[in-house]
Symmetry: C2
Amino acid sequence: MMNFSVGVEYALHCLVNIIPLNRPIGIKDLAEFQGVSESYLSKIFTKLAKARIVQSTPGVKGGYELTKSPKKITFYDVVIAIEGSQPIFQCKNIIAKAFTNEALEAEEDEDEVPCLINRTMLEAEQQMYNFLKEKTLMWLRETLDNELSPDILEKNREWFQKKLVQN
Amino acid sequence: MMNFSVGVEYALHCLVNIIPLNRPIGIKDLAEFQGVSESYLSKIFTKLAKARIVQSTPGVKGGYELTKSPKKITFYDVVIAIEGSQPIFQCKNIIAKAFTNEALEAEEDEDEVPCLINRTMLEAEQQMYNFLKEKTLMWLRETLDNELSPDILEKNREWFQKKLVQN
DNA sequence: ATATTATAGATAATTAGTGTCCTTAATGGG
DNA sequence: CCCATTAAGGACACTAATTATCTATAATAT
């Protein structure tokens, strides 16, 4: 079944916790926080860096930080950064194989009127993406701040502060 | 990258061509029409049959036909029939692993407030599905009848008539 | 200089999707 | 009743993508 990769989840969970920090944080800490391996999470963050969502600093005291305001980073940006921008539905133009007559082949060759089924699926995909474009990291952060208990939020904050101080 | 399976495309292409026929048509003909193997296409149609989108008749003169009006069969129905109804985004609740403190574990145990990221992705998915629920097989058929050249439509019709007569 | 940290490449394990083959069961026509 | 036809289902193989690890390299602060 069609799926978003778990990388998207790793990314969003990390990013929303990076917001309140005002310094770079390393993969090691983030991996520990998430309970996943550094090796794998670093691949994800390389993708986020290439998509200009985070900025990386190698070396001592290095790590990752947001490149811009979390108001300007959307779920859509993160999904595309991790999963790539290939459409969810790739028409194999099977119907073209169905008839080997000249008329149809000619029409396919023009390639100006893509398969209606394909267009419909892509339009459906856009509905999903439009929704994800409206959800920013800032919205996620603020909603979590409202939803989660103060107790959990405080423990969360303490955990990251401790990590930053240690470095 | 996340994808709809090609099975969805096979299914839709076949179904839209089944509409004008008023008799069962066999996998052999449909497979020839699409240029795919009978073995594989039959798996797809078994799924469509289980989803009550088509009705199957084994034996001589058997085959598949729609169970109901194409006005009542949506793209969504077909997608779910082929791909299953598992959500596109399965939250691993990674955040739960992040803190091993009691407060959070308690909250996770309740399991009444699923992860906000998860909820957001599912809501996005729903946007896509809502769109696909509005698109019926009948709409697809009628739009194709308007968009495609009369020449192609006629050749298409002839091809299926010939096959039905042969059986 | 050295320890730290990100980047990149190679590679392996796992899973899902795609596809085939063979057997079984049901059906209609002779 | 028998037989050809057709769907259903299980077993299996092939492919591609995802997930994951390990190693080596490059950049950086102290």
